[in-house]
């Protein structure tokens, strides 16, 4: 049992850290927020491809690196430290994993190499007009019409939809959900973003990232666009969402560590009443509580990834990880800002980039109540634990 990185992991971490340090500074982030119409940097995206990051977990036979989820966590943590904007999460993890899991041989051969090469961007069209994330909330419908499906509905928070080549759309093919626990009747479609009837509208957010409302107005797609089994998308999609949650938590934890490091440094440097403010026990308690939570969040994320790599059922761990990391990191952004005093709330101060992302990262991919329900299903509704 050890937490040491392998040589390859060390190399991955160092490369990512150096790249981020060089390419993803605050000026760059401000520029992406204020002046880019893409929300990320296409040049940087190509660099990601060149470094092999876009194939990190994808199978080697389709051009991927075939690396582990733990490796992914190591990479995403570095991206998160610098809150690097990119469509990696849903392109590589959500879509890449879904295609790898349940795509046909033709789909895999056709689609995965272009993900790895950085020539396809995917967006994930799942969330609808509900506060919740349960699959039962989906109402967007896909009706059979001859040898095609016609999709109608409205998807929200489709990140980078406007820049995506393909939308991974989860739609209802098997009739309405009976209750909140009903995850049946859903099918995944890979929809060309430029299909007739697809319109995107930017949803302005706290992070100033690129979230879109996407309307599907009788969008006709051939049967070949179906990914996985008709009416049974959730069985394939849930593991992909679990991987996405792990990657998201890794990113989030990275952001938390960076904010914490900046706040700690400031506590050492800032002198008031002839003492560095970090000498105050109150400040020490805040920073110690924060780092303790971050260590816990980080270890839980690595552990969950490691269990997933071993093919174990990680549903309960993913729930606990997402619930804890999300709340913890958001709280850490708040604590960090408090250490900076009034400055921590000025638009021009660098750490407000983190503050603005904290809550949004917490609520992405399902707010905490959803993941608590996942935990509850695992610990309460299942068999009792053997306490020996």
């Amino acid at each position: 049992m050890d937490i040491k990185l392998s040589e390859d992991q060390n190399l991955l971490q160092d490369t990512a850290a150096r790249f981020m340090q060089r390419e993803c500074g605050f000026e760059f982030l401000r520029d992406i927020e204020n002046n880019s119409n893409t929300g990320f940097c296409p040049h940087m995206w190509r660099s990601f491809a060149e470094m092999g990051w876009l194939g990190i977990n994808l199978p080697e036979e389709y051009g991927g690196m075939g690396m582990t989820m733990v490796d992914n966590v190591i990479l995403l943590r570095e991206l998160g430290r610098k809150i690097c904007p990119s469509p990696l999460l849903h392109t590589v993890v959500t879509a890449g994993e879904s295609i790898s899991r349940c795509g046909t041989e033709v789909q895999k051969r056709e689609l995965l190499p272009s993900i790895v090469a950085g020539t396809s961007v995917y967006a994930f069209a799942f969330q609808e007009l509900s506060r919740f994330f349960h699959p039962s909330h989906i109402r967007c419908e896909a009706k059979v019409e001859g040898d095609a499906y016609v999709i109608s509905g409205r998807k929200m928070f489709v990140e980078f939809a406007d820049r995506a080549d393909t939308l991974l759309v989860v739609a209802r093919t098997g009739g309405p959900a009976i209750n909140r626990k009903d995850s049946s009747g859903l099918t995944m479609f890979l929809v060309d973003r430029h299909s007739v009837g697809v319109t995107c509208e930017l949803m302005p957010t706290m992070s100033r990232d690129r979230q879109y409302e996407v309307v599907f107005d009788n969008v006709r797609v051939p049967e070949s666009c179906i990914l996985g089994n008709v009416d049974r998308a959730w069985a394939d999609l849930e593991p992909a969402i679990q991987k996405t949650a792990i990657a998201l938590c890794a990113y989030t934890n990275g952001a938390g560590f960076e904010m914490h490091a900046r706040a700690t440094q400031y506590a050492k440097d800032r002198v008031q009443f002839d003492r560095p403010i970090g000498q105050m026990m109150t400040i020490q308690m805040y920073l110690a509580q924060s780092i303790m939570e971050l260590y816990g969040a980080d270890t839980l994320t690595l552990f969950t990834a490691s269990n997933m790599d071993q093919g174990l059922n990680v549903r309960g761990y993913v729930g606990k990880m997402k619930a804890f990391c999300a709340e913890t990191v958001c709280r850490n952004m708040d604590t960090g800002s408090q250490i900076f005093g009034g400055m921590g709330y000025m638009e021009d101060h660098d750490t407000t980039l983190y503050l603005r992302r904290g809550k949004q990262l917490e609520l992405m991919l399902g707010g905490t109540e959803y993941w608590l329900e996942v935990i509850a299903e695992e610990i309460i509704d299942r068999q009792p634990v053997n306490l020996s």
């Binding site: 506060r131 949803m203 638009e347 809550k359 399902g366």
Partner: protein, 398 residues
Amino acid sequence: MNFEWSEAEKAYRSEVVAFLEEHVTEEVRGSWLVDTPARIEFVSKMAAKGWLGQGFPEKYGGTPSTTPFAQYILNVELDRFNAPIVGKNVGTIARTILHVGSESLKLDFLPKIFNNEGQWALTYSEPSAGTDLGNISTFAENKGDHLEVNGMKHYITSAHFCDWYWMVVKTSHELPKHKNLSLIIVDANSPGISIAPMYCVGTTTAERTNQVFFDRVKVPNSRIVGELNQGFYYMMQAIDYERFAIIAAAQHNRRFHKILEYFKEVDFAGERPLTDDPVSRSQMARLASRVEVGNMLERLCMCIAAERVPSVEASMNKAWGAMMHDETCSLAENILGPYGCLAKGSPYAALQGYIMEEYLMAGHGRIAAGGVDTAKTIIARRLLGLPNSFAPPVLSAR
């Protein structure tokens, strides 16, 4: 024991409410933090009622006040109407001038303040002097008949529309810390002053504050408030004048109820957060009891204010209010899920982005004007009599 206003106070309050119902327009409501023509006009109307100078001597433009609570009653109602309260101009500046200013400053400035002629900016904070004002380095050099001011101030909220800076400067290189500061009044249009805006996070339009640069700015000696090098002590005394600062609960109440009403109405694809979700319902109920406690702490301040300056109770009230700001917004965000992150401009944004913007600024509230931990330190020291944390050991080591 009596938690209600007397008949005279009720009558005064009715007068205030009637006035506010007539004059608080949408524009006035929106000017709570920023200056606008509507705001100036509104405050001038209050001035015309004689409400700004209540309790001050008539020779300086003051008016007799009908009850010791007149100022609170006015501010509580202003706050309830989301209109700008009577704040620093009267509570800090006018009182300090009255207590320590020269006769000419009194005659010159007090009537202006009570008539709402001109705006003021409190000009204290500097990059290295935040909570520790002893660190101030902006210097005013003695040039015979005037001072020459050089330096920089920040977080000066009213700088972009003020007429005068109410400013603390260092006036001696030799005297020890805290004995080398002076209060001065600086004309905003003096040559050598320049300003640069600073915006609060997430609110690029309304919530502005400023950096102010002073480059060889001349200030006549007559604009020194009280004695030279006594500024720090005047500022400390002013904290005890700031009875207006005990008004804190109405904002937090308004925020909570505004969000509560929103949750009663909003309908996410047929789900109503508070009636369909027992968890949110229970969380909002618990928060309601905590927000109510804020009202109680404010009421306690007012009860005590008739007897003495409620400085400890005001610290509690402010700290609690700041905690409620945070708790209310965090809970609202969590209940909203991803929809909580939408900004003004999205048709799906909760209360047109209000909740999100309030959420982002919630932390600032815990810091601004002292912060929760500072308030607790005041409580620990003044009320509980606990010793200064940085005092030397009581027993010699051995």
